[in-house]
Symmetry: C2
Subunit: 339 residues, 2 copies
Amino acid sequence: MVNVGSDKPNIRQVATIAGVSHMTVSRVLNDHPNIKPDTRRRVLEAIEELDYRPNLVARALATQRTRRIGVIVESAVAHGPTSILRAVELSARAAGYSVTPIALHEGDALSPQEAVDNLVTQGVDALCVIAPRSSSVAALRRIAITVPMLVVKADADPTFLTVSIDQHAGTTLVVDHLVALGHRDILHLSGPLDWLDARARERAFHTRAKSWGIRERPIVVGDWSADFAYDFAKGLTRLPEYTAIFAANDDMAIGLIHGLHDRGFEVPTDLSVVGFDDIPLARHFLPPLTTVRQDFGALGVSVVEMLRAAIEGRDIPALTRIPTELVARASSAAPREVR
Amino acid sequence: MVNVGSDKPNIRQVATIAGVSHMTVSRVLNDHPNIKPDTRRRVLEAIEELDYRPNLVARALATQRTRRIGVIVESAVAHGPTSILRAVELSARAAGYSVTPIALHEGDALSPQEAVDNLVTQGVDALCVIAPRSSSVAALRRIAITVPMLVVKADADPTFLTVSIDQHAGTTLVVDHLVALGHRDILHLSGPLDWLDARARERAFHTRAKSWGIRERPIVVGDWSADFAYDFAKGLTRLPEYTAIFAANDDMAIGLIHGLHDRGFEVPTDLSVVGFDDIPLARHFLPPLTTVRQDFGALGVSVVEMLRAAIEGRDIPALTRIPTELVARASSAAPREVR
DNA sequence: AGCGTCGTTGTTCTCGGTAACATTCACCGA
DNA sequence: TCGGTGAATGTTACCGAGAACAACGACGCT
């Protein structure tokens, strides 16, 4: 803790003070076996004395490992991607990795190819792509790449490592919930179908609706934004035939409720609305929003686990599916005719 | 675009192909003057042929510059910090930097000291701390540090570089707006006063309220969360004497509206509510939320500009104040007695 | 013609670690 | 007693770039 004035100490200065060669210091740092306890102690003392920290850049150059994970986030505005990024950062740090995020489609129009290039040139050990569109995935698939790449998305994929939120189960929960309440005609307001998550929710919705023998009704394709949903609801001229709307995310659900309200329809009296995400504010909307909660923390852990395994050449754990949970609140209720 | 099979090419392989020394290649890469056009062309062709990318880790070791900015985010859940991080990443990338975020107080309790250590050991060229508490700032102030450090917070500070959102102006807009509507008795629901932004908004509120000669009323200290605000509002037994509430962020404003609603009071009929942040959903609440918008994009640009100046030893631009804008919506209206 | 200058390019060293191989020495068994 | 073995440590090369300095040649000027 001395080291006044001079620049950052390096491994050889530590070696000199400890009276050993710099390799011995390196071995102590890396927990190599076959170091005499006394030698180790002297090295540790020297490290302490100089307040020495290994230079990770130099280490990265020598080992060809940066211990960094590049994360490509599509649309960093949404709640989901943001939460996932945070979760990945957290568990990466716990594993001694750091994270370099790049946001796509934000002001500048960065292509997936460019983002990958950028990160690979920086030497990240692995890549993680969050919540992408199928077009991005197609682009990624065409990129020959030397580092492990993991995609967080709905379906497994032979090309990449995959961790997925169980969209199917979550959506099924929603349909079952609405059916249990008595709904037999449900509208799905999906996200842009180019988004894999939107597509997965839409498919699961159809599948489950069909298995309940519910009326087949064309879905409405939104853009994830509350604004779109608001405009849609505002455009309704009379109370529709369907009695519930399943929006593919909370933002749209909220826009819907707002639009319906402005049109003179009340939720859930006239219409039930269900979202997806359970954003922190969902329970404070008027009415509080029924939605689906996803365990982003678990997702972050899985992502880092798989990537570490891939980086270190260990066996890669099987595809992880992150579970979901329905949170029933006041925005969904029995339809009028059933009451 | 050939380079089949073999490993990543390095600068010397490029040099060999171009028939020059590796230094000439380095000079071309770094736009040095005094390279014959013909030589440059040959080098560029060789680069193209091998699809060569400079190894940034090696460059970082040689130049002692990583071109990375470490960002410490306190509470990555909130809208503000998240948006700021995104904005900083965006403009950093435009400047050829990348960003390494670390989230504080998220599951693990990481101290500011540890976060700084982590990032400095990684060799970041500069540090940016977003939206911190005064205790964190105090801790940071005690850390002797070799890289430039910038803090995004309300007030200028001689110790650090500073970029600040003009909390004072934003708050003043709110008070003026409410006063213009006819309110004379306003409650402030602040954030935790340990947070600099909360403190700044609280101070500005008092100052402005006093200058209008408004009744001095103790503030209520919240914790930024909608839950807290909900509980507070729910706890009201009768309509209070104040006619408006200024919440220090949108989340709390929304929790308030929810709680008031559950208590049987309507916004803005019984009480006006104003928030701060203009989260994307603010306009879709019922009622749509009057709030203050901040230009996070401009903030990101300023942060990166100042840090680059500091890193490159240029003159540091003066403290930047990011402007704010009041967005008046339906949650604020004239008080009952004025109508 | 001789010399200084500048444009252009090359050689060598360095950044701060780790890997690979070499060395030393104690101990053990034949 | 000698060679083998393995623990403990040292020496040297290397990762892939940039910095500093050297070298070379063309050119202009006296």
